[in-house]
């Protein structure tokens, strides 16, 4: 080892270790990270608590009814024969949601295309705000409108449909003996009217998801289509719609999730029944959320447990629908980034 006064040779260590690049956060940052993790943890904990609580409290009712809970139509957990199940209410929920979707899908698709493709910038942002405003209108207001205005005005339409399309079993309106009914009283409080009101409440969600997907359709392909002499509709059909397919499906499923959970507007319109009613124009339907809203008040401890079981089923269904929807939307987003 030679040493002079200027340079000092440091002997190489036998095994050179790579230098660690991990930085040590200062005290304030450690607190910051802890606070952030805590906030995220609380958010997750709330969600998990909802699931855990519902399953925990639903256990008692589910243990007594067993799997028959899924196909029993009646709901009398306290009195009567003690039979209860969600077949009828779940059927009503799904009917209302699908009526709502079949109205909302064309409406929101066309509105989303109008906003993203047709109107110029200034009107576009106004339209976007108005759609957002529609999403913020309380559901009780939609319910009021549905009960006091829409019902009376839709009944002639229902009568007309049931007169001319009675050969489709869905649109027939018959009394228990099978005879055709035509008086207006048989058409009030139907799944059809509830579906129309719910459709207005889900259109904003659907429109904004679709609009975002459409506006991400790549510019190169759009200009290519136009340069080949396509009309604007031709460009939309060949470029925007194929690229936005994920957004259309995802937005529709998100809307489906909201339609399944809609409560107050449905409660105000329908007249609850506990049998499966295929005739969507006829008085009487039900939904899981309406069942909970109408029955929680007089429910005993066990009745509450049965309602929890119904809520749990609704919760699981909306979770599945929503997870599928966000997966589809996310996947379509990653695919649309070509140029």
């Amino acid at each position: 080892m030679t040493t002079d006064s200027v340079t000092e040779v440091i002997p190489a260590s036998p095994t050179p270790r790579p230098r660690s690049l991990v930085s040590r956060p200062v005290q304030a940052d450690r607190v910051f990270r802890a606070v952030c993790y805590a906030a995220g943890g609380i958010t997750v904990a709330i969600m998990l608590a909802v699931g855990v609580f519902l399953s925990g409290r639903a256990g008692e009712a589910l243990a007594r009814s067993g799997p028959a809970f899924l196909w029993t139509q009646a709901w009398s957990p306290e009195g009567g024969d003690g039979q209860f199940g969600i077949a009828a209410v779940l059927f009503g929920t799904v009917t209302i949601a699908f009526i709502a979707l079949s109205i909302a899908l064309p409406l929101s698709l066309a509105t989303a295309l109008l906003i993203s493709e047709v109107v110029p910038g200034r009107i576009r942002s106004t339209l976007i705000s108005l759609v957002d405003l529609m999403a913020a209108v309380p559901s009780v207001v939609f319910g009021l409108w549905g009960v006091f205005f829409l019902q009376a005005n839709v009944i002639p339409v229902s009568q007309w449909i049931s007169t001319y399309f009675a050969w489709i079993p869905l649109f027939a309106v018959t009394d228990p003996s099978g005879a055709r009914v035509t008086d207006a009283g048989a058409f009030t409080s139907s799944a059809f009217i509830a579906g129309i009101v719910v459709s207005l409440m889900i259109v904003p969600t659907q429109t904004s998801v679709m609009r975002e997907a459409f506006s991400q359709a790549p510019l190169g392909e759009r200009e290519g289509a136009l340069a080949l002499g396509s009309t604007r509709w031709g460009m939309i059909r060949t470029v925007v719609l194929p690229f936005g397919r994920g957004g259309i499906i995802g937005g529709t499923m998100l809307a489906l999730g909201r339609a399944l959970g809609e409560t107050i507007a449905v409660v105000m319109i329908i007249s609850p029944i506990f049998t499966i009613n295929w005739q969507v124009l006829k008085t009487g339907t039900n939904s899981v959320s309406a069942l909970i809203a109408l029955r929680y008040g007089e429910a005993s401890q066990f009745g509450l447990s049965a309602l929890m079981a119904a809520g749990l089923v609704l919760f699981i269904i909306t979770l599945i629908v929503n997870f599928t929807a966000s997966t589809i939307v996310a996947r379509s987003r990653s695919g649309a980034e070509s140029n």
Binding site: T43, L54, A136, V140, F142, M268, Y296
Partner: protein, 425 residues
């Protein structure tokens, strides 16, 4: 093909050279007219007007004279279908098939937008107009329903207790959701990692939580287990469960828009993560965050079903959120219209109109504050920022001048530089 110029390939043409291998075909009207994508030609405007008039006329004829059809909605549907058909025929007189389908689709898009906006305006307008008989009585806003029975005229009783209840409940909910929601959004964006992705998935799933399930959860967890009575606080908790995912999502989107070079500039100056968030990320996205919170509030104010299970119904003023039932506006609407009495229904519409006006006001405020991306400043903010940076410059120059006077010989590199203080904003 007829377009390609098929000159007879004589040997003399082949001799001419390899240079003539690419030929430009002679154009024979192969290129059509230039397509107009933007402007609306005059004849098309006339087509629209004519088709609308003809559609309305056809529907009126059918409904008034020729067939026994009745009803306003049916009339609208028939006139719309007639309009589409007549418009297609009129357009096809002057244009090709592609243009006709383009015009029909555009007409459909515009009508969908018109239906949607019409429904929105009509729902809001109907509520407000039906609410006017109750709203014109000043006592409606200052009295409670304690002494007003269902048969009392509209000049007795009011919804003061529901307005106060709504304000108390939404305030408690905001106290819970603003810190929790924005911190979670910061966590998703600034900390990241696997757990953050998990949290984002969960909060996305929470947006689909049916509101009645949120109410049921609070009813089971808080009302039956802890407080043993319905209260404003339980209702506020239920509203918080509904508002939290909305605020997280909206803030998450806003924070994602903060330009990364601002963060990097801040880190390059040696700041900690915490100071970067507090002094760079949050101020940059302030207007967007306020908008997110206001939109969440507008949604929370209108929630009925979670409140239905948790707050209880009362006709009296209750200022204590921890004991006794405390009604809120949407629940009061629901409660009023359950009654068959016309005066109670009128009160219901009055309360609904109040709720609608409240939501509209919140929405307008949100649009005035927000609607602007991060870093885009209003004129006043821009002047304030320019003033602050001019002050900073003066301070730095003064400090530099003082230092030069104190140490004329020292070179700047040996002098330990003081970190520049943060902009006192």
């Amino acid at each position: 093909m007829t377009i390609v110029d098929t000159a007879p390939r004589t040997p003399s043409a082949q001799e001419q050279a390899p240079a003539a291998r690419t030929e430009i075909p002679v154009r024979r009207e192969a290129v059509g007219e230039r397509r107009d994508l933007r402007s609306v030609p005059l004849d098309d405007a006339f087509n629209v007007v004519g088709a609308v008039a003809a559609g309305i006329a056809v529907a009126t004829l059918l409904f008034g004279w020729l067939t026994p059809m009745t009803g306003f909605i049916g009339w609208l549907v028939i006139s719309f279908i007639a309009f589409l058909g007549i418009y297609a025929v009129l357009s096809s007189l002057r244009a090709d098939r592609l243009t006709v389908s383009e015009r029909i689709m555009t007409a459909l898009f515009y009508s969908a937008g018109a239906i949607l906006l019409g429904a929105l305006v009509f729902v809001l307008g109907y509520t407000v107009v039906r609410g006017v008989p109750a709203l014109i009585n000043p006592n409606f806003f200052v009295e409670t329903m304690k002494l007003a029975g269902p048969l009392e005229p509209l000049s007795v009783g009011g919804i003061a207790h529901a307005i106060v209840g709504t304000l108390i409940q939404i305030s408690i909910a905001l106290v819970i959701t603003i810190p929790l929601g924005i911190t979670t959004a910061v966590f998703l964006n600034e900390v990241g990692g696997r757990f953050a992705r998990f949290v984002r998935t969960i909060s996305d799933a929470m947006t689909a939580l049916p509101s009645i399930v949120a109410g049921l959860f609070i009813y089971a967890a808080i009302v039956t287990l802890v407080t043993h009575q319905r209260s404003g606080f339980a209702a506020a908790l239920a509203i918080s469960v509904m508002m939290l995912p909305i605020i997280i999502r909206a803030s998450d989107v806003v924070l994602r828009l903060v330009p990364n070079n601002l963060r990097e500039a801040s880190y390059a100056l040696g700041t900690t993560r915490w100071r970067t968030v507090w002094h760079v990320v949050l101020p940059t996205s302030r207007s967007g965050l306020v908008t997110a919170v206001i939109l969440g509030t507008a949604r929370g104010i209108g929630e009925t079903s979670p409140v239905l299970l948790t707050s209880g119904v009362t006709a009296e003023m209750n200022l204590n959120p921890f004991s006794g039932p405390m009604i809120s506006l949407p629940l009061q609407v629901f409660d009023f219209v359950k009654s068959p009495e016309p005066n109670m229904v009128a009160r219901g519409f009055g309360a609904a109109a109040t709720l609608v006006l409240l939501v509209l006001a919140l929405f307008l405020i949100a649009r005035l504050i927000g609607g602007r991306g991060p870093g885009q400043l209003s004129d006043r903010q821009r002047r304030a920022v320019a003033g602050a940076s001019a002050r900073d410059l003066r301070r730095i120059e003064d400090a530099g001048a003082r230092r030069v006077r104190a140490l004329p010989s020292a070179s700047p590199s040996t002098e330990p530089t003081h970190p520049i203080e943060e902009n006192p904003s």
